[in-house]
């Protein structure tokens, strides 16, 4: 009898197939169990070279790939600095002009072919290189101002580079002293008690020199940092995928500064207790510019979080200020956030606009100040909040928003509250009356009074605000003409003083009042001081305030500066906007931070709940 020859092979083949199937099944199950967060960004990113980007979404990605020396505690409110790659927060030495950081040993960059298989440790030299990159003219860093006129000898190096065309990264800068592998000291030209905040900014982060040099042609596409995530996939302006950095050391949630009476803090602590962070395996980000698809994609459970619910859908999401029944049924969470930002309108205080044309709102004479103050009083801010902002805003009382160090909640003045009757009385008193009976007021010297307002052509909200300006002014007899201009032109016009009145906004770079009050500092004219406000007393107070750390002495100076702002009215204070962030119940550990752009490294996902809902 002849035995079939294939018979002995059957069993191993069967097992091989079985093992293969099991492996495939295991891989599929592991994939299915992966904690993936899906989220949309409101605008497209530009790139991930931290020293070369400034838009909040690009910086938001950098925040997850890189790590600064310091950061903010996740739960503490108001925002509080904590050490990240530094061993501790340094004390300011020599009257706030010297800061020494000790870097934690054993922090490694994510793997990259440039390192040729070796682990690359984070060292003090990386921070020296980073600071120099900000000042290299070739990088045209949008955040160059952070280190401009700041560190001893650095400005001179930049000047040399402008002349020679090459920045000497190996040159010694007296203001940056590296000692050994882990110690770096920054020596400042003048006292700056906010320097620590600068060192916590998400783009003040190191990228190894060898990586920058290897990918010099496109550093935006090769971010290599020590952060909790790596850039796994990037389809520009379409898809960004972050994956957990296997080299990251991991950490646990710090609860030292949490408020146990705060329900969000309690929830976060319950959800993240004992967990090693980052908990997410993967973050998938899609830039979606338009509001409807972003909102519908979230409702369709294509995304887990809706960052900043569009104002146009606020009545569906929060009818009468409460989460709608439909969303409540989904056990959705809403986090209302009063962002550390302010919207405002700028009056050009120069007597003449660029080109020599008379500026009817400029100057410091009593009648010009009266005109500006009357315009502020005539502006219907209540309508702005109710209709344009859909009640998702608070009226600003000072240039400093709540949640920022130096904000004074007791400060309230009626000078910026809408009061058309007072506006009319003020105009009458200073000779702005209708002389020819055409229904419009003339200037005190009898010349026609026509005020030009410039706004961004691209924004619906900007157009509505312009219409409200014209309507409010018409109600008190002031003729205001609104002109829409290109965004880039508006930026330029405001920078060089080619405008009379224009809209503006500012969001905190760091949570200190100085970041807002510098917007009216005289020497910042042609930079951030768009109103070109140059008042010796204000400048004196501002300069004096820089020499003080946070405290009552400094707050007193801030109050005085605010009083001058209200008196001279170089701004119409607008609002502090409230943004509502929605999350599905399977998103764990959520709390929006006022300064950090993202919170991916603190989030977790309940995968079975997420998968069940997707079905």
């Amino acid at each position: 009898m002849v035995l079939p020859t294939f018979q002995p092979l059957r069993i191993p083949r069967f097992f091989a197939v079985l093992v293969a199937l099991l492996l495939i099944l295991a891989a599929a199950t592991a994939d299915a169990q992966k904690k993936v967060l899906r989220i949309a960004f409101r605008t497209a990113e530009t790139g991930f070279d931290p020293q070369r980007v400034f838009d909040r979404y690009s910086v938001g990605i950098c925040e997850n790939i890189f790590e600064p020396l310091l950061t903010y505690d996740y739960l503490a409110r108001p925002a509080r600095l904590v050490a990240l790659t530094a061993e501790a927060i340094p004390e300011p030495d020599e009257g706030g002009t010297r800061y020494t950081f000790r870097i934690k040993p054993g922090i490694y960059f994510a793997d990259d072919p440039v390192f040729k298989g070796r682990k690359r440790e984070l060292v003090a030299k990386d921070f020296e290189y980073m600071v120099k990159r900000f000042r290299d003219p070739k990088n045209r860093s949008p955040y160059e101002w952070l280190f401009e006129n700041k560190l001893i000898g650095l400005d001179e190096l930049t000047e040399k580079a402008k002349k020679s065309g090459t920045f000497d990264y190996d040159a010694h800068v007296p203001g940056i002293e590296v000692r050994g592998k882990y110690v770096i000291t920054f020596k400042l030209k003048e006292a700056d008690y906010n320097f620590l905040y600068v060192m916590a900014m998400p783009n003040v982060v190191p990228m190894p020199r060898e990586v920058v040099e290897a990918y010099a042609a496109d550093t935006h596409a090769h971010p290599v940092g020590t952060g909790p995530f790596i850039l796994k996939e990037w389809v520009r302006r379409s898809k960004i995928v972050l994956e957990r950095n296997p080299y990251h050391r991991g950490y646990e949630l710090e609860t030292r500064y949490a408020d146990p009476t705060d329900p969000w803090d309690r929830k976060v602590m319950d959800e993240l207790r004992g967990k090693r962070l980052p908990a997410l395996d993967r973050v998938e980000i899609s830039p979606i510019e338009d509001e409807q698809p972003r909102y519908l994609a979230f409702l369709n459970k294509e995304h887990d979080i809706l960052d900043e619910t569009p104002f146009s859908f606020i009545h569906q999401v929060l009818p009468n200020g409460k989460l709608s029944k439909a969303l409540e049924k989904e056990h959705m969470n809403v986090f209302p956030e009063l962002q550390p930002e302010i919207t405002y309108d700028v009056f050009n205080i120069d007597d003449k606009v660029l080109g020599g044309q008379e500026n009817p709102v400029g100057g410091y004479s009593p009648e010009r100040v009266a005109l500006r103050r009357a315009m502020v009083l005539a502006h219907d801010r209540d309508q702005e909040i109710a209709i344009i902002r859909k009640n998702q805003a608070l009226p600003a009382q000072t240039p400093v928003p709540p949640g920022v160090v130096g904000y004074d909640p007791a400060l309230h003045s009626t000078e910026q509250d809408p009061d058309p009757a007072r506006a009319k009385a003020l105009l009458d008193m200073f000779g702005y009356v209708d002389r020819d009976g055409d229904g419009w007021r003339e200037a005190p010297d009898g010349r026609p009074l026509v005020i030009q307002y410039k706004y961004n052509i691209g924004g619906q909200e900007a157009r509505q605000l312009a219409e409200l300006w014209a309507k409010s002014m018409k109600a008190v007899g002031i003729r205001l003409e609104a002109t829409a201009v290109q965004f880039a032109d508006l930026l330029n016009d405001k920078r060089v003083g080619n405008f009379e009145v224009a809209g503006s906004a500012w969001i905190a770079d760091y949570p200190d009042a100085q970041n807002f009050l510098q917007l009216l500092y005289g020497p910042n004219t042609n930079q951030s001081n768009e109103s070109r406000f140059r008042l010796a007393e204000y400048d004196r107070l501002y300069e004096k305030s820089l020499g003080f750390p946070d405290g009552e002495e400094r707050n007193k100076l801030y109050r005085e500066m605010n009083r001058l702002l209200l008196a001279y009215a170089p701004w119409r204070l607008g609002v502090h906007r409230i943004f509502n962030h929605l999350q599905y119940p399977w998103v764990k550990g959520y709390k929006k931070h006022p300064i950090l752009y993202t919170n991916f490294k603190y989030l977790d996902i309940d995968v079975p709940a997420q998968q069940l809902a997707s079905k």
């Binding site: 790139g47 101002w145 520009r236 698809p293 369709n300 294509e302 330029n492 951030s528």
Partner: protein, 312 residues
Amino acid sequence: MTAYVIRRLWQMIPTIAGVILLIFFLFNWVGGDPAQVLAGKISNPEQIANIRKQLGVDQPYWYQLWVFVQQVFTFDFGRSWSTNEEVSRILLTRVGPTLTIMIPVLIIETSLAVLFAIMVAYVRGSLTDRGIMITCTVAMSVSFLVYIIVFQWLFGFILGWFPVQGWSESFWKNLTTYAPLPIMLAVFVGLAPQLRLYRSFFLDEINQDYVRTARAKGLSEKKVMLKHVLRNALIPILTNIGISLPGIFVGSFLLEVFFSIPGLGREIITAVNRSDFPVIKAVTVYLAVITMIINLLVDVMYKYVDPRVSFK
């Protein structure tokens, strides 16, 4: 024919020169200063001057124009000012998604429009004809944006037939999952005007003497309509397709923005918002060249559709 094609190619040179001049002057006179956008929140005039120098926009106009001409003829538009990505790469990666949407739209829309137009023309004056024409007029009066909002809400969200938005790396997944809703939408919106136009082409032909002769000869209605009327109406139809053909390469920016399709239309809007001149230049020149080539091809095709046409 060769002489005709050479003559037409030769005529493209002054057209391209006109396009170059137009884009250049429009950008410099109407477009915003890119340095202002790139400078960030706080910058001084010196930093802005540094950015302008690096971008080359501080050079004399004649020099910038010369650089532009060189770029056109070397097909090298450099890198994007805002993202530092190579412009050629931007074009190559963005044209695929645009064509994935626009080619099916063109094919489906043209086929349906021709089919419906010939049917409606055949029953001209009837209740069906009038009803369809009124529906078309009403459909044409509604904004494209309204259609997008309603379709996305209804088919994407309420009925859940398609995803609300999205795009993947797989061509088949895009074609079968993400593209159907925008394609359906574009076809729906484009059908009404096309149908009205093509109906008028068919009616023009139906009233011709040769049609009466064909019928008198006893040819069947099917033969009259499909062999004689359709063939003669194809010339204006072809012209119309030729005119709309270059549009498929830039797509519909509204569709791309609303459905998160990483196509050229969306890229152009981003480039305009960021004053990213290298991208704007490249797309405009490339579109002008495509338009001219397609026009030439359509003209050549006339010869095959209508033997009476000759190249002179």
